[in-house]
Subunit: 148 residues, 4 copies
């Protein structure tokens, strides 16, 4: 699917999305940061730590999902009106290879931006020693919450 | 679907599963604990903290997914032979209501235990003031990793 | 998850749902019938034919999904106001065992009925020689379309 | 995710895959055809008919899923050894826009080809009057069945 190019209606989209991300206690706990933000796209990075791992020392599938979910949510939010907010309806993620060490990188793009629902796909790679190994793939549905 | 009753082939299943859970750095970071464990079932609990939340103060969807994923993985592992291990292939989760405060409870049960693949469903509720509010529903596929 | 009990607001729900089902050309092509209908529940049955199969003679995963999708959609529709309609947002299905011969039975129940979105789970079994073998499990999100 | 380029180990992959597709009674019933086949890719087309529709005259979500599921399965099968076969483990599909009339086109590509499991994504469009409107997006897990 060719990724569509988007334009945000809200001139303040960048600051608005970063302010929302800054309020996510969970992203702070994990140590995740937004490394790229464009209308319809958001990339989140997370350096490896032992306390993000499962029993074999790989990134925990839930942690991988957490940054992919936030990346998709913020990719969606870039395109919303100034006062609207976003909630995850559901997502599905395949863990396509174990991710150990290095930095986890979740790149989200909006594939369909509707009035109520937004669909994103998120590619997750692990970057290590200059290499990028795909480790996760998410397909996600989000809902726009408008002010009453 | 009527939940099947299972019997583990490994007499040591309980200690084996708890030892694996204790190695998950991510569960320690979040503050999650196993509260029930039976062959084919695992329940994980996680008390609310601000640093587990998204921008509105609800449990982050990724955190909800993380404990649901571990619950499903360990429900599967109870039924595996002593030397086998488990990896998540994929999961899909619906966030059916925002979960705020209280304790998040993820109850996993194995619905199909095959030689290679195991399928689990996980119900996630938030327990608060003696009430249980359903907040998530996961359907998950896991793979058994046998020693070489 | 304990299945909630529902009451429809529309006294005419049964006739309304059956009329909509009768308009689904695809269900007629396959030979599928509604065998049970209650507020929040719908069961669809489909007897085996060779032209519903994949390369090994099992029910095709897409055919299994088609009746499960309709069952979920109509379980949702039982609870909607008289003039509203339903569309599938997305679903995820596990094919937990090959289904050959007999009758495919898809039992859907609503697990969450919101103003905009409805979540269903659908169990699919094959009934043959008095036995019921679970063969599929779906988790589905639907959207209510209200008249303008 | 950059789509990987694949090479099949089996020189006879094209004839092998087409022979398997020809055995799918369900694809014949629907009127679906393979329109493109490469190692790691398969495209299936399905012209609109009323008996493939749901209650509003759109392609039924289950029919859309059926051709997407076959496209993914055969994209996977192109890469398998000569005597191996493929089964769908699970898939998740978003119906991103109603598809009415024209020809439904499901383009599958393998994103990860492992020894046991293969992951595909499938884009579904409707082609009408020279336009292509995206209408579905699938993420699918398949298992390789080796001869005993």
């Amino acid at each position: 699917m060719i990724e569509p190019r988007y334009k945000s209606e809200d001139p303040n989209w960048d600051a608005r999305v970063r302010a929302s991300f800054a309020k996510q206690g969970a992203m702070r706990l994990l140590g995740a940061k937004i490394s790229e933000l464009q209308p319809g796209n958001c990339t989140i990075e997370l350096p490896y730590r032992d306390d993000l791992a499962q029993q074999h020392g790989y990134f925990h599938a839930g942690i991988t999902s957490a940054i992919a979910d936030s990346a998709g949510g913020y990719a969606a939010l870039t395109l919303f009106p100034a006062l609207s907010d976003v909630l995850t309806v559901e997502f599905k993620v395949n863990l396509i290879a174990p991710a150990h060490g290095g930095t986890l990188v979740a790149e989200a793009c909006v594939v369909r931006s509707g009035r109520t629902l937004t669909i994103c796909t998120v590619d997750v790679c692990v970057e290590r020693d200059g290499e990028r190994i795909p480790c996760g793939l998410m397909q996600q549905t989000l809902i726009r919450i408008d002010p009453k």
